[in-house]
């Protein structure tokens, strides 16, 4: 028994080395930079300077929230529909959903930008039809659209998994006890697939709130989110420290939101009146 635990410890070594080198150490660096000034002296100045970035934070949270909600509104019915399909149709839908994900995120985003650009495919088409051009790239809408486009599969997949695990007997039982289709949805299907929704929301919200590439390309540099701010601050060694504080705040924000989401699934048992 003791030998086995020693062996198990040994098996964990590569992972521990990896974690320390690439996760723990960088985090300590972030913490160090966050609490020192440019000369390496201990300082709270970075934290007090955070106030000037309040708007960036609010904008990022708002964008991520909107993108997440829209992903949920599109993704939930899509996952439901996919789960209803059989065999080949289901596989085809799955491939269509996954296909863009086989391609790198940056390339996908770049491709979307060229499609939606002023001289892009969409606008050329609209123009040739005599409908005039629409400006998407460089607008708030463009950035949110990019987030939805890039992250929708992350919403659909966990919900789809939860849907396929849902025993059909629950749906039949709901119908049997008097539920209409809509009531079956609200009273049985949604509560029982909530874990999938929570995963989906987390998996869309977290990358949305920290993205910088989508806002750079589809925002045409006009829209500054937290990710862009951090990137810019880290390009200049003299602003490392502020960048580190913002990263830290970001991390805390994400941890809080994940915790809040988890609370949602734990607390699904309803109480007696």
């Amino acid at each position: 028994m003791k030998g086995r635990t020693a062996f198990q410890k040994l098996a964990a070594v590569p992972h521990i080395v990896w974690t320390v080198m690439f996760i723990v150490a960088p985090m300590l660096f972030v913490l160090y930079f966050a609490l020192t000034d440019a000369d390496g002296r201990f300082s709270f100045a970075n934290i007090t300077s955070l106030s000037q970035y309040t708007n960036v934070f609010i904008l990022s949270i708002a964008f991520a929230l909107i993108a997440t909600v829209i992903c949920l509104l599109i993704g939930y019915p899509l996952a439901y529909y996919m789960a209803q399909q059989k065999g080949r149709t289901q596989k085809l839908l799955m491939v269509l959903l996954m296909l863009p994900m086989w391609c790198n995120l940056l390339i996908r985003t770049y491709a979307l930008m060229t499609l939606l650009d002023n001289g892009g495919l969409l606008n050329s088409l609209l123009d040739s039809l005599g409908l005039g051009k629409i400006t998407i790239v460089g607008t708030d809408f463009g950035v949110i659209l990019g987030m939805i486009y890039d992250f929708l599969p992350y919403m659909v997949l966990p919900i789809f998994t939860a849907m396929t695990k849902l025993d059909k007997q629950y749906i039949e039982a709901a119908h049997d006890l008097g539920c209409s289709h809509l009531q079956t949805m609200t009273r049985v299907v949604i509560p029982l697939t909530l874990s999938g929704v929570v995963s989906g929301v987390t998996m869309v919200f977290v990358p949305s709130i920290s993205t910088f590439y989508i806002s750079q390309k589809l925002g045409a540099g006009k829209i500054d989110l937290v990710g862009d701010t951090i990137e810019r601050l880290f390009q200049n060694p003299s602003t490392y420290n502020v960048g580190a504080v913002i990263s830290l705040v970001m991390m805390i924000l994400i941890i809080i939101s994940v915790q809040v989401m988890n609370r949602f699934t734990d607390d699904e048992k309803r109480v007696m009146p």
Binding site: Q169, A173, H175, D176, G178, K269
Partner: protein
């Protein structure tokens, strides 16, 4: 005696079908020529079935016989491809399950895991928009009925199989359905619990006066609980009758084989009251067959008496003996056909014994599609109980 009971049975059916009032008033459920196909395969083949109010009816048959499909059609989870379905005289063929006055107790219980015991039972009443105090009163009442007082706040996943079953029953009964459908509800419980639940279900049925339609493949369960047993095989009803009729007067070889143990032999009905099998002429009490009509003969193992070799109508050699607690099960080789006998006395293997069969013990049946499928006990097994049919799995 046998003739009498048979006649009474026919007489009752006769009365029932001819009287327009009783038909309108009593038949709570009627299936007329209901057929169902899955992937082009016929699962139900023209089912005609009338169920009276307050009856405990069991649909009995092996896997794949169509019993569950029949139940699901009544519940509204399947639509018949042909035929009509009436509940309380109303055609409900196209009525969705939530608008039918029936409720189901599902095989795997299907309790909602996100709701506690109270909320599971209250589910139907909440949907109906019942006032809060009524919900609390009714749920308490129902939980008392199924002996689960004090379990209100428990999560359903923390309950044992038997307790979950009770919650499922309470959840269905609280809506006061006209008919309660039960799909092999005791299948997952152990033997002792099954027996208890059988008694309790019967009691609940009497107390509430609700019609129960119960699906099972367990013939013993069917016989001990039901007012009426509907024996099904190959998508068709083989026989409808009281448990006693089904056991004593099986309609064909399938019913005889499926319900209890039977020795099924080929015979010739020489004339009324005279039947020939195993190379000998026997007196019997059946009549109404054509002269020299080929028939199937059923003799129950407990109806064969072991006598001295010289007194036997048939003679045979004991090939095996199994002690069954209150009786011995003996397999006897009579001219190559292995009979099953149940006796209270031990007979050593290889002994030659005589068999005596009273006229009342011989039951004569018309030849059917099942004739010849069920032979003697030379390769005795419970295959019918365990045989599974892939089509029913798919249908579910």
């Amino acid at each position: 005696m046998v003739i009498e009971s048979r006649n009474t049975c026919f007489f009752a059916i006769f009365l029932f079908e001819r009287s327009p009032f009783s038909k309108e008033m009593e038949n709570i459920i009627e299936l007329k020529g209901v057929s169902k196909f899955f992937d082009g395969e016929c699962i139900l083949d023209g089912i005609d079935l009338s169920i009276r109010d307050k009856e405990f009816v069991t649909l009995l048959g092996p896997s794949g016989c169509g019993k569950t499909t029949t139940l699901r059609i009544i519940g509204g989870f399947e639509t018949p491809d042909r035929g009509e379905l009436f509940i309380d005289g109303q055609s409900v063929k196209n009525t969705p399950p939530n608008q039918r006055p029936v409720n189901t107790v599902f095989q795997k219980y299907a309790l909602f895991p996100h709701l506690n015991v109270f909320e599971n039972v209250a589910f139907g009443l909440r949907l109906a928009g019942a006032p809060k105090d009524e919900i609390v009163r009714s749920v308490t009442e129902m939980l008392a009925l199924v002996k689960l007082k004090g379990f209100e706040r428990r999560t359903v996943t923390s309950l044992s199989g038997g307790q979950q079953q009770r919650v499922a029953i309470a959840r269905a009964l609280i809506n006061h359905p006209r008919v309660l459908l039960l799909d092999e509800p005791l299948g997952a419980l152990d033997l002792k619990l099954r027996k208890d639940m059988q008694n309790e279900l019967k009691k609940i049925q009497r107390q509430t006066g609700i019609t129960f339609i119960y699906v099972t493949h367990d013939q013993e369960e069917a016989l001990s609980m039901s007012d009426t047993v509907v024996v099904m095989a190959n998508g068709k009803i083989q026989q409808i009758g009281s448990p006693v009729d089904i056991y004593n007067e099986p309609e064909n070889a399938f019913v005889a084989d499926f319900i209890g143990e039977s020795n099924i032999l080929d015979g010739i009905m020489v004339s009324d009251g005279k039947v020939k099998f195993s190379g000998r002429l026997f007196d019997c009490v059946d009549s109404g067959f054509a002269p020299n009509e080929p028939v199937d003969i059923v003799v129950r193992p407990e109806d064969v008496d072991v006598v001295k070799l010289d007194d036997g109508m048939l003679t045979g050699t004991v090939s095996s003996v199994t002690f069954k607690g209150d009786y011995y099960e003996i397999i006897v080789d009579v001219g190559g056909f292995k009979w099953m006998l149940e006796t209270s006395d031990y007979e050593a293997p290889e002994t030659r014994i005589g068999l005596k069969i009273e006229p009342e013990a011989i039951h004569v049946m018309k030849k059917s599609e099942f004739s010849g499928q069920f032979g003697d006990y030379s390769s005795f097994s419970d295959e019918m109980d365990h045989m599974s049919d892939p089509t029913e799995e798919e249908a579910e």
